[in-house]
Symmetry: C2
Subunit: 336 residues, 2 copies
């Protein structure tokens, strides 16, 4: 008998999600069918974009269905196989989401290379989705150029902690990051390649950014929105480009906040604000993987994980991540 | 003796400009020097962007200096010449601005072709700056594609009245315009190539746009900002592109209005908002002139002028234009 513990969406959250919006279920799977495999997860991902899918609103991906398991990235290992392409022991990446184990067709899993001494979880961040997000935002969206001054909001998060390093590797000049604690600000400059960093919880994001970027910014990689976008619009040099990746400051509000009061700068300075999600840029994954594997292998990519143990604490991990409790990637470790 | 009447900026307007912010002066010019010409203007241009230059704030062009003549587009004819390149009688375009006559080096004027039966003023709009603005916004900024649904705010103005027609000529599908009076709305569909139009002063721009664009919009050409930008963000299809050309709704406010409350759509729908001014796109002028001369010669470009007579009424014309009193291009006719 193969049993899994899964977290389902029980109700659509209003504002901040609560435990009542989710339900933990035990699922007993039927006999393994030809072409199926059974996987025990090692790490399950919790990501900001999931909050949007919990709403029943138009977005680039369909909303999560009520009463179904929350899908998303996870990595694990095949423990039983009825498909020759994925023998027992294979490390796999998949999108089955918040569960400690999965039984599903082999075609819904992708084998990943194991790197000696490196946890499988890197395929959920620096070598996976969040690393690709950083790369796409800097290259395809913001068109990073040699010597550009780059500002990154939410710079100590899963995406932001890669953005600074990739920007430097791609030739950026000054790279500036904001984060929400003194520890994170320290990590930005000591670990993640940022030249200068500030704590947005100290207030006056506009003033702090202006002080950090006396010659203005050319590229803005936004994970936060709100006052960070407003500050960037004031700091932009002519022809500046913003890659709008996330706006976590507004994900759990029940009222929609007004936008920045200085959008007129977009016209007078000839700025470009481009939003993106990975869906339209998966064709860049091979190019990214080649570059990142090289950097990673050379030991030039620093990363951190904030790990919560136990699938039953997935919702806690998700909420902690939304509150900014993580440095680097927030993960749920399933197999202890 | 060569005397000109010029309008100078006397004070920086706070909010809506008043006559007290300007001063009319008579200038007696010295003897004509080698290389100079004297020009009597036929038409002087008043344009929305001039309002921005009246403020002492950073912008793509320097602010107007206090106590100097307001510069900008004008067309006229050489009446005395001390430069063989511009003989008496030559029709010229220049940037000397709000004056009934100019004495200046020949190099600061550009000879323009006269088209039989067509007033020189077309070089101040459809064959000039505003036509080029429409063309650049649709092509270089918004990347107009065959079949795109296009929404244009302030569509009956000098720029907007060209945008609809050029969009159609370049292969757009449905083209939707907004304007501020029933007469203008009628002109949009009867003269300017729009498929459907609405009066934004009837309110509910979001609802009116949604009704006009049941299948969403792909391109937004914005001259207005404010509620028009907000409405467009709700109407955009995935991958939509906005050319932000102007935001006249905010030019005369003394407080900065908050931005749209739905900027999150930029991310979830993968939108691009790009501001622009002509300064960076003058290299497209030859391409535009070739295309527009062809369309214009074929009689396919409709245009209108709202003309105020007399250089002494230039400020009235400017204020009327800011209030939307014009259909098509607002001009001051100087030589009666």
């Amino acid at each position: 008998m193969f049993v899994s513990t899964q977290i389902q969406l029980a109700a659509r959250p209003q504002g901040w999600p609560t435990h009542d919006d989710f339900r933990t279920v035990q699922v007993t799977h039927g006999p393994l069918q030809d072409g199926e495999v059974r996987v025990r997860n090692a790490f399950v991902s919790v990501d900001p974009y999931m909050r949007g899918r919990m709403n029943d609103t138009r977005s680039y991906v369909a909303p999560y269905a009520l009463g179904e398991t929350v899908t998303g990235g996870a990595v694990g290992r095949v423990v039983e196989s009825a498909d020759p392409s994925l023998p027992v022991g294979t490390a796999v990446l998949h999108q089955h989401g918040w569960s400690d184990a999965v039984q599903a067709p082999a075609s819904t899993f992708r084998a990943v290379a194991e790197i000696p001494g490196v946890p499988l979880s890197v395929h959920l961040h620096v070598l996976g989705m969040t690393g690709l997000t950083a790369y796409v935002g800097l290259t395809a969206i913001a068109g990073l150029r040699e010597g550009d001054t780059v500002f990154v909001s939410g710079a100590a998060g899963a995406v932001g902690s890669s953005v600074g390093q990739i920007a430097k590797l791609l030739g950026a000049g000054r790279v500036i990051g904001s984060a929400g604690s003194a520890e994170k600000v320290d990590a930005l400059t000591s670990r993640y390649g940022y030249d200068v960093a500030f704590n947005y919880k100290d207030g006056d994001v506009r003033g702090q950014l202006a002080a950090a970027a006396p010659d203005g910014i050319d590229v803005f990689f936004d994970n936060v929105g709100g006052d960070h976008l407003e500050a960037a619009l004031d700091a932009f040099n002519d022809g500046g480009r913003a890659a709008l990746c996330g706006a976590i400051s507004g994900y759990n509000t029940t009222t929609r906040a007004p936008g920045p009061d200085n959008l007129a700068n977009v016209i007078t300075r000839g700025l470009t604000l481009q939003g993106f999600t990975l869906a339209g840029y998966l064709h860049l994954a091979p190019e990214f993987t080649q570059a990142m594997t090289g950097w990673f292998g050379a030991g030039t990519i620093a990363y951190d994980e904030t790990v919560v143990d136990g699938i039953e604490h997935t919702v806690d991990a998700f909420l902690d991540m939304m509150r900014g409790a993580n440095t680097g990637k927030m993960l749920v470790r399933v197999d202890g």
